[in-house]
């Protein structure tokens, strides 16, 4: 692998080289002393997602499963936020915004479906 490819593959290094203003704050935390803590947090959010998936599989009614899916989406947004810190890419938060929007639409649609099915 040649040298230019190595720098391009490292997003933090290349961003620092081209864009000094936006990543000036990132440079101050180059060491990332708290990286193990964020990794543990990411793993614990994964454990929480597994616990919620139990309710998704088990849940006696459709409403239970919808709540579990909603909560899994919450955990996905949280995991994205932690991953943004771990990779040094704050742009990843935009994914969280889109995900929140889609989550709400999905939950509202499921609620309408449950209600309509019960009325008919």
């Amino acid at each position: 692998m040649s040298a230019p490819e190595t720098t391009a593959a490292d997003p933090i290094k290349s961003a620092t080289a081209t864009d000094t203003t936006a990543t000036a704050a990132v440079d101050a935390f180059d060491g990332l002393m708290t990286a193990p803590l964020y990794q543990v947090c990411l793993a614990l959010v994964g454990v929480a997602a597994v616990i919620t998936a139990y309710r998704l599989v088990r849940g006696p009614t459709l409403a239970d499963r919808v709540i579990a899916i909603d909560q899994l989406g919450f955990f996905a947004v949280g995991a994205i936020a932690l991953y943004a810190v771990l990779t040094g890419q704050p742009v990843l938060l935009s994914v969280g915004i889109v995900m929140a929007l889609i989550l709400f639409l999905g939950t509202a649609a499921f609620a309408m479906f449950i209600e309509r099915r019960a009325r008919s």
Partner: protein
């Protein structure tokens, strides 16, 4: 778009305004402050997420599980999202994280209300030891019509559930 916003905010507030006063943004607070703040938010958000997951797995009926998701879950995601700007110490990232937080705080109660309403209409059973159901006797599950409370209902009739026959339930309301 986001990067433009990010750059613009960092330049206008971070570089321009602070450099005009001769203060660098990173020197306003030592970096360790932001790192500790980010770690605090990350740990708090993770613990709240775990609480929400345990609540969803352990609570007895839909209506109580809904509470765990809507309260602990929302607060957990908000804390996790706020950990990002705290770690990066950037105003642009803070604006983006506040978008996430405000959006979750606006939509989570609405979604929770919709699910609860749909579950009640679908006739999801409540926990056997539920204390109060204010719609009890008002909603007709056959014709799907919501009646008002009868005018001659006693003021004390607020929809308390009848006593269970097994006798192991706790006292539900003040006797007398």
């Amino acid at each position: 778009m986001t990067e433009m916003l990010h750059q613009g905010l960092t330049q206008s507030i971070g570089a321009a305004a602070l450099a005009a006063e001769g203060v660098h943004q990173a020197e306003l607070f030592p970096p360790i402050v932001f790192e500790i703040l980010g770690a605090f938010f990350a740990v708090l958000g993770t613990l709240l997420s775990l609480l929400a997951a345990i609540g969803i797995a352990r609570f007895p009926d839909v209506y109580t599980r809904m509470q765990a998701s809507a309260k602990a879950g929302t607060l957990g995601v908000a804390c996790l999202a706020l950990a990002v700007p705290a770690h990066f110490a950037s105003v642009g990232v803070f604006a983006e994280a506040m978008l996430v937080v405000v959006f979750f705080f606006l939509t989570a109660p609405v979604a929770s209300h919709l699910i609860g309403r749909a579950a009640y209409i679908a006739g999801n059973p409540m926990w056997a030891r539920t204390t109060i159901d204010e719609l009890r006797g008002c909603y007709d599950h056959e014709s799907h019509v919501l009646h008002a409370k009868p005018a001659d209902a006693s003021p004390r009739d607020k929809g308390y559930m009848p006593e269970a026959s097994d006798g192991d339930s706790p006292p539900r309301h003040a006797a007398g």
